[in-house]
Each structure stands twice: as structure tokens, then as C-alpha cells.
């Protein structure tokens, strides 16, 4: 099966500056693809080319076989685009905003009230339907923007930093919405700098630096392709120092220490770095039990994507 989004040798230059260089990437149907990279890596340029807003200097990209160069209108039918800034009309009510964009997508007037109701319900803004858009919080506006990308039921959502500038609650809400949309069958291509979000929800990840893809794959694939010392957190009931000393003697453990915030009685948090395989990892846990240490929690921290990111990128910008 051919990929739903395919980018081939895509380049974008602004005068002498090459923002995107011979980029090759594919996104399969149903992927929740996280596109990460440092500032100036070329994420927004890539996304704008995919959204038919920016003409590529060379190369091409296809969405369900429609070329962004040759058939931008065909691409627009298939994508829902959300930019990294928040653009709404302040003199509109929430439902009017969606109604206007439904009209822009030529959706018949008769079908719009139901569509708007469904979308507002999906993004949990049905109770704000009659409110002016400018009265909404930033998180709500972002959810409304996301609803706007869905008015024509696109196959692919192209979102440029959808969680940027949101407070933690709004970020969690947007993240949950993306997962829900992915579950509904949407293919989602989104850029972000929040690695924990990517690690948590993405099925595939692409890391971009200086206009070039440095690696792609699922989190597991990235881990195996770019092995690094994984980090684990352990929560014990007691005997933290003793556990640290013991961990340091175990195979694969390269570093172990108590973590900050050990203030709750009966809870000792410690962290260790591990360079072994999964079998050796299970031995670590078994060994802790054998020492009579009461383990309350033993888990890998999500910073492993950070490690991969730091490992594959060199801090270059275009």
C-alpha cells in the first residue's frame, strides 16, 4: 500500500538560505506522525509546502496521490491545516466560525447545523456555541481551530505546533483530542517541540535538523536504531541508599542516584541509567526483590526520546 503522505526530494530555499534540503518522508494511513526538530530546522517550511501554501524550490510532495505542485486544490480537499499561530475572526460567534469555514469547503447549508453540533461536541465546546470567539480561552480557541480543520472530514490533518503556548490542562486536552482523532481514522502529521507529547501519543516520529530528516520510525525503532542509556525510575518504600549501592553493582546499570523530591515518608525515589538488554533489565528488578527491597514502582521515564533526539541532532540550524 502506498503511503498517504509522501515527500520526495523536497527542498525549499529562501535566497541563499536552504530551509529544507532534499527531504524524503512518508506517512502511512492512520499514522499519528510527530515531526520534531529544533527551532529553524525547517518544520514549518515543510508543513507549509505540504499545506500548499509555499511553493517548493524543488522536489514534490503527494497527499493520497495528489501533488502539492500539480494539484494543490486536490490536496486541499484532503487535508485539514492548522497553523502554528492562532487565526480566528474575533467578531464571530463560535458556531458562525465553523459555519463560515464549512461554506468555504462548499458544504451545503442544510448539512451544516448538524455538522457544527457534532464538531463542537467532539471538541467539547458545545456549551460555548453562542459565545463570541474572542471570549474563548487560548486552549478553547485551539480546540475550535482543530474543529475547523475537520469541517470537510479530511483524511489528513496537518498541524503546526498545535500545543504551542498552551497551559498544561489545554495541552492535555489537545493531546487527548489528537489521540481520539487518530482512533477515528484520521492520519495526523504534526510538528511540535514537546518531546513528551510525541513520545506519549505518536505512532511514528521524524526528527528534522537543518532541513534534513535525521531519523524516522516508531519510538521503539528509534530506540533500537539509536541505542542509548535508558533511564528508569524506581520508587521504594525505604532503604534508598542501600538500593543505590546495590544497583551500582548490577550488570548494565551505569549510574544510579536518588532523585530530588524525596520528602514523602515511606517513598524513596531513585533513578538509574541502564545500557543492557531487556533480559538484563528484568534481572535488575528481580535482584531488587531478592535484596528484600520493597518496590512500589519500576518504570522507564519518557526522556528516552530526549536521549535519542540529543543523540541524533547536533544543534545545527539552517
Amino acid at each position: 500500500m502506498s503511503p498517504l503522505v509522501e515527500i520526495r526530494d523536497l527542498s525549499k530555499s529562501y535566497g541563499e538560505l536552504a530551509a529544507v534540503k532534499q527531504l524524503n518522508l512518508s506517512v502511512e494511513q492512520g499514522d499519528l506522525f510527530g515531526f520534531i526538530g529544533p527551532n529553524g530546522a525547517g518544520k514549518t517550511s515543510t508543513i507549509r509546502m505540504l499545506a500548499t501554501l509555499l511553493r517548493p524550490t524543488s522536489g514534490d510532495a503527494w497527499v493520497a496521490g495528489h501533488s502539492v505542485r500539480q494539484d494543490p486544490r486536490g490536496v486541499r480537499r484532503l487535508i485539514g491545516y492548522m497553523p502554528d499561530f492562532f487565526g480566528v475572526y474575533d467578531d464571530m460567534k463560535v458556531w458562525e466560525y465553523l459555519d463560515f469555514f464549512a461554506a468555504c469547503y462548499k458544504i451545503p447549508m442544510s448539512g451544516r447545523p448538524r455538522l457544527i453540533g457534532d464538531l463542537l461536541e467532539l471538541v467539547e465546546l458545545d456549551h460555548r456555541r453562542e459565545d463570541d470567539v474572542d471570549k474563548l480561552s487560548r486552549g478553547m480557541k485551539q480546540r475550535l481551530s482543530l474543529a475547523r480543520t475537520l469541517v470537510h472530514d479530511p483524511q489528513v490533518l496537518i498541524l503546526d505546533e498545535p500545543a504551542s503556548g498552551l497551559d498544561p490542562r489545554a495541552r492535555v486536552e489537545i493531546r487527548a483530542l489528537l489521540v481520539e482523532l487518530s482512533r477515528m481514522g484520521k492520519t495526523i502529521f504534526f510538528s511540535t517541540q514537546i518531546l513528551s507529547d510525541v513520545a506519549e501519543i505518536c505512532t511514528r516520529i521524524g526528527i528534522l535538523e537543518a532541513g534534513q530528516i535525521v531519523t524516522t520510525g516508531s519510538l521503539e525503532e528509534l530506540r533500537s536504531h539509536h541505542p542509548s542509556q535508558r533511564r528508569f525510575e524506581v520508587i521504594l518504600m525505604e532503604r534508598g541508599e542501600e538500593a543505590i549501592q546495590h544497583l551500582r553493582t548490577l550488570k548494565g546499570v551505569t549510574e544510579a542516584q536518588l532523585t530530588a523530591g524525596n520528602h514523602v515518608p515511606g517513598r524513596v525515589h531513585l533513578e538509574f541509567r541502564f545500557a543492557g538488554d531487556d533480559r538484563e533489565l528484568s534481572d535488575v528488578l528481580a535482584s531488587l526483590h531478592q535484596q528484600g527491597l520493597r518496590v512500589l514502582r519500576f518504570h522507564e521515564t519518557s526522556r528516552d526520546l530526549e536521549d535519542v533526539f540529543l543523540r541524533v541532532t547536533k544543534g545545527l540550524v539552517t
Binding site: 499545506a51 500548499t52 501554501l53 487565526g87 467578531d91
Partner: protein
């Protein structure tokens, strides 16, 4: 797009204030002319000619106020049409929808024209006082309406064009008003200046020692004068009105030229009435500006 624009424009107090101030100014202006009729100076004698004269004056004043209002408002409501979408960062979102550049420009233009048409229609009840007094011919009403609509379309097209050209509303508004001002006030001044400067030059170049002008030179000069007269709405309107008062056809104006003219002994050169040239010329210019605006909006970012 039209519905969205009109919703935005009519919501809130701004449209109401504009409409109210405009109608107050119009009422006051017409009231000042109408006052002598009702206060008695003209009432008892039933001087038909004088009443018709006052009626014509009321109609002319109303058209002038409408014209000035349009000249002020049209650039203002259109100069931000596209540029404000860019400023509010909604332009990119619109461009990724199925809305075409033509629909976007047309929608913005039609919304602006709808509001201007509302202003013109709102004046009609006050303006119709002139019809009570008589003196206003139906040709004058039709010609005035056509010229006002043409001016609305042309100045709106100018605003939309600059709005498509610039990313910011400020330069777009400044240039739209500059062009509007030049069209309305600058051209008559330029015309007067040209006449002042060119008169001695014309005499020197085209007249012989006895003060006669060759027919070819006369036709040439009439052509230039006709173009200049037709290029300004006020001058075109006044000239057309003078033609009608003079009993000439509203379609063709006969310009007397030297008797030795090379047109089979015809001494009058027929030219289309200035209002026709104004309407045709400015509508054509509007079409060009609308086409250019669509091209600018469609232009992909490079």
C-alpha cells in the same frame, strides 16, 4: 464570504453610527436648500421655474453628498479587506480551503458594495424631496445612479487591489485614499493647471496668426479635453448636467469645431457624453484592478 463580511460589518455600532451621521449630514444639507420653499419665500407665488430650480439643486446636493460619502468610505472599508486577513493570520487558513482567489476577492468586493448600496438607498427618501418640487428628469436620476454605482465599484476595486498588494492594512489604506483623493480632487486641480499652462502653448502650437485653429488640431484638443473631463466623476457629472440643461441628448455631445472641419461640412463633432466615458472607463479600470487583485491573492508564496 459576503455573509461573513456583512455580519462583521453590521454587528456592533460602527455601521449604525456611519449611517446615522451620513443621513444627518444629508438631511441638514437638503434642509438648508429646502427651507426657503417651506418658509414662504417661494411658497405663495407658485413660481414653477424657481421650484424646479430648487428641486434640481436638492437633487444635485444629495448626489454630491452621496458622492463625497462614497469617496470617504469605499477605500476605508476595502483597503483592509485582504490585508486584514493577513494581519489576523487567517489568510493562510482561507488559502487552504476550497475558496478560490476569485471568490475571496469577489466576496470582499460585494460585501463592501452592499454596504455602499445601503448608504445610497438610505438617502433615497430624503433625496426624493426633490421630486416633490420637480425639475429633475428621469435621465438625470439614472445617470446619477450609474455614476454613483460606478464610483463605488471603482473606489472599492482600488481598495481591494491595494489590500491584495500589501501585507499590512496601513500602506494599503494610505494608498487607497491617495488614489481616491487624486481621482476626486486631484484630477480637477490637474485639469485646471493643465488648462492654465497649456492655453498659451496651444495658441502657439495650433493657431495661426489670424487666431484660427486647424480642424485636425481642434479634434485633437477636443479629444484630450474630453478624456480629462471624463476622467473625473464630478466634472463628468457637471458637464453632463450642463449638456442636459442645454437640451442636448444624454448620449452624444456635439462639440462645435471650426467650420472647415473635414467631416463633410459638419461643424459639430459628436462625442459620447462624458458620463458614458466615465462609467465605461472606470468600470473597465475596475475590472482590471479586480483581475490584478485575484492574481495577487492567488500568487503562491515563494
Amino acid at each position: 464570504m459576503v455573509l461573513k463580511e456583512l455580519r462583521g460589518r453590521m454587528r456592533g455600532g460602527r455601521a449604525f453610527v456611519v449611517l446615522t451621521v451620513y443621513l444627518i449630514v444629508l438631511s441638514c444639507g437638503i434642509g438648508l436648500v429646502f427651507l426657503p420653499v417651506t418658509s414662504g419665500s417661494l411658497a405663495p407665488g407658485y413660481d414653477l421655474a424657481m421650484r424646479q430650480y430648487v428641486g434640481k439643486g436638492i437633487f444635485g446636493l444629495a448626489v454630491l453628498i452621496q458622492f463625497i460619502t462614497i469617496s470617504f468610505i469605499a477605500p476605508g472599508i476595502t483597503a483592509g479587506a485582504i490585508a486584514s486577513e493577513r494581519e489576523h493570520q487567517t489568510f493562510d487558513i482561507l488559502r487552504t480551503t476550497l475558496l478560490t482567489a476569485r471568490e475571496l476577492v469577489q466576496g470582499k468586493l460585494l460585501a463592501a458594495l452592499s454596504f455602499l448600496l445601503l448608504l445610497l438607498l438610505a438617502a433615497f427618501p430624503i433625496q426624493s424631496l426633490a421630486f416633490l418640487l420637480g425639475g429633475v428628469e428621469k435621465e438625470e436620476i439614472v445617470i446619477a445612479a450609474l455614476m454613483l454605482i460606478t464610483t463605488s465599484v471603482a473606489l472599492s476595486a482600488v481598495g481591494v487591489f491595494f489590500s491584495s498588494l500589501f501585507k499590512r492594512t496601513l500602506p494599503s489604506t494610505v494608498l487607497a485614499y491617495a488614489v481616491s483623493f487624486f481621482t476626486v480632487a486631484g484630477l480637477p486641480m490637474l485639469l485646471m493647471l493643465l488648462i492654465t499652462i497649456a492655453s498659451p502653448l496651444v495658441a502657439l502650437l495650433f493657431m495661426d496668426t489670424s487666431g484660427d485653429m486647424s480642424p485636425v488640431a481642434a479634434v485633437f484638443l477636443v479629444g484630450i479635453a474630453w478624456l480629462l473631463v471624463s476622467s473625473n466623476p464630478l466634472i463628468a457629472a457637471v458637464t453632463t448636467e450642463a449638456m442636459l440643461i442645454d437640451g442636448q441628448s444624454p448620449w452624444v455631445y456635439r462639440v462645435p469645431i471650426p467650420s472647415s472641419a473635414p467631416f463633410g461640412g459638419v461643424t459639430d463633432l459628436p462625442v459620447p457624453a462624458p458620463w458614458i466615458a466615465y462609467v465605461a472607463g472606470y468600470l473597465l479600470l475596475s475590472l482590471v484592478l479586480i483581475w490584478a487583485s485575484i492574481r495577487l491573492v492567488r500568487r503562491p508564496e515563494v
